[in-house]
Symmetry: C2
Subunit: 307 residues, 2 copies
């Protein structure tokens, strides 16, 4: 079983409006809802790849109930979310039909009490015992200590479960120091962590800060991986246009999937870049087409790069 952790789960709401204008009133023509938060997205992609997945983190309130109801409809994902008194946050993506642009509004998330955090730590330790790998994903809700991921990384390493960390800012900085097996920052997160906007230099610097392997996602530039076994660049087969929502989470799922199958790094990376590209090409944000993925997997180019 692969474990994914989403401390700040979300009910992701998408609104379509004709044209978003500040200070105006808008009739929403279409509303869609899905369970969100990076770890839940990763879980969904892993399940689609045929893995057994357990999702933990927090859920509460009416929005948490909606997340769990929809998660129950996702085949292959076991719901091990810890109930909390506060309400799971919403994210609202407003899609402008005229321009195609998306405007994002993200609620901060519920206040987590010390007792709820302690309950989560117990659940996490129990679940880790049966996990082949764990992904720690996304932002921290209010009340969770900023060093939370560092602690969760250490717990996983202590019992020998490979751990991937995908977060940003101070939680990433502290988490990296606890020596996770893999981190997957995007260009902006990497620059914030290292102070360098030069991807190869920044990726190497992130490794020196503690990560065993760093896979930087560079948007249309693909993935840059600096690992103990070598350095590679994985590029998508073609320039793609589409909705990048969830592309990074699909890459995480590809990396984890390859890790538990003990594939060599180049194969993990082609899987990650093909999944990520298939997600961008999908008409539904965060979803991917299996046939498109299979075809992209054949064509993804992974090339060694100089250290």
């Amino acid at each position: 079983m692969i474990l994914t952790v989403t401390l700040n789960t979300a009910l992701d709401i998408t609104y379509r409006v004709r044209s978003l204008r500040p200070h105006a009133s808008h009739r929403v023509s279409e509303v869609t809802e899905r369970p969100g938060g990076k770890g839940l997205n990763v879980a969904r992609v892993l399940a689609a790849l045929g893995h057994e997945v357990t999702a933990t983190g927090f859920a509460g309130g009416g929005t948490g109930r909606a997340v769990r109801e929809r998660l129950a409809e996702t085949r292959g994902v076991v719901d091990a979310l810890v109930p909390v008194a506060g309400a799971t946050r919403r994210t609202v993506a407003v899609v402008d039909e005229l321009t195609g642009d998306t405007t994002q509004l993200n609620e901060p998330g519920p206040q987590i009490t010390p007792a709820e955090w302690a309950a989560f730590l117990g659940t996490y330790a129990d679940l880790l015992a049966g996990a082949s790998a764990v992904a720690l994903c996304g932002s921290l809700p209010p009340g969770v200590p900023v060093g939370a991921y560092a602690g969760l990384v250490r717990t996983a390493r202590t019992i020998g479960v490979p751990v991937l960390l995908d977060t940003s800012g101070e939680p990433l900085r502290r988490g990296v120091a606890a020596r996770p097996d893999i981190i997957k920052p995007n260009a902006e997160e990497l620059a914030e962590l290292t102070g360098s906007h030069e991807p190869l230099r920044a990726t190497q610097d992130a490794r020196r800060r503690g990560a065993h392997a760093v896979v930087a996602s560079l948007g249309p530039g693909g993935l840059l991986a600096v690992t103990p076994e070598g350095h590679w660049r994985a590029t998508p087969p073609a320039r793609t246009h589409g909705n990048p929502t969830g592309a990074g989470d699909s890459a995480v799922a590809g990396l984890l999937s390859g890790l538990v199958e003990q594939l060599p790094w180049p194969e993990r990376l082609s899987r990650a870049v093909a999944l990520s590209t298939a997600t961008v090409l999908s008409s539904t944000a965060g979803e991917f087409d299996r046939a498109v993925y299979s075809e992209l997997l054949e064509r993804a180019a992974v090339t060694p790069t100089a250290a």
Copy 2:
């Protein structure tokens, strides 16, 4: 008991953001939620004035549950909402902290099935039997026939319950023809109904279309009432700056409150304009301060106007 009907109830969500920019991602600093839809707002104000109020309409899904939970915390309002399979709509008001402007996103509402509409008609007839007055408020959710308000007006008139209609567009046009006791359009709704942008002429025209009394809410210009007993203009004691959300609903509550207490029209109008102004002055959208209301009630000016 006063009955209020809200066919398209809503969970009203307010987001505060630093500055709303299309195509950007925003961290929401504050989230507030309250039960919404014009009829529920009217019910809350009537209850605050000491009236017994019953609120009916539709509620469904997690959002409907949230509306009902919050309504249960409102003293004096009896929840007689009819359950539906679809989810009650959300409205999202995004307040820009830099400019103070509000951008509004309104979901359309759940699809109401013919069986649900029939169930509502049964509930409505039962409740009307014990009502001293009824207010029919707001938009129609998908699936409800566009002539719905006309039918509801006729049912009320048949059993002699005074009926106030506050809606817009085609539902207002059809509803007016069924001869409601009072309509309370704003300037825009009145112009859409009559084709005239001249308030007095448009108000008189709306009476000719079937409404026994027309009270037009003209924003800072106050209220213009054309009734069988006379014509009046009610003006707020001072030019007010604030949030106009719910001001029209407070005016409806004032009119209904005065109607069931059999007050003469000028007193109903001063109540309506004072409540409306107190709502604009309140720091919380749709709420009002009782002391401010009492003070404004003393100072509201109601003057007869020429026909």
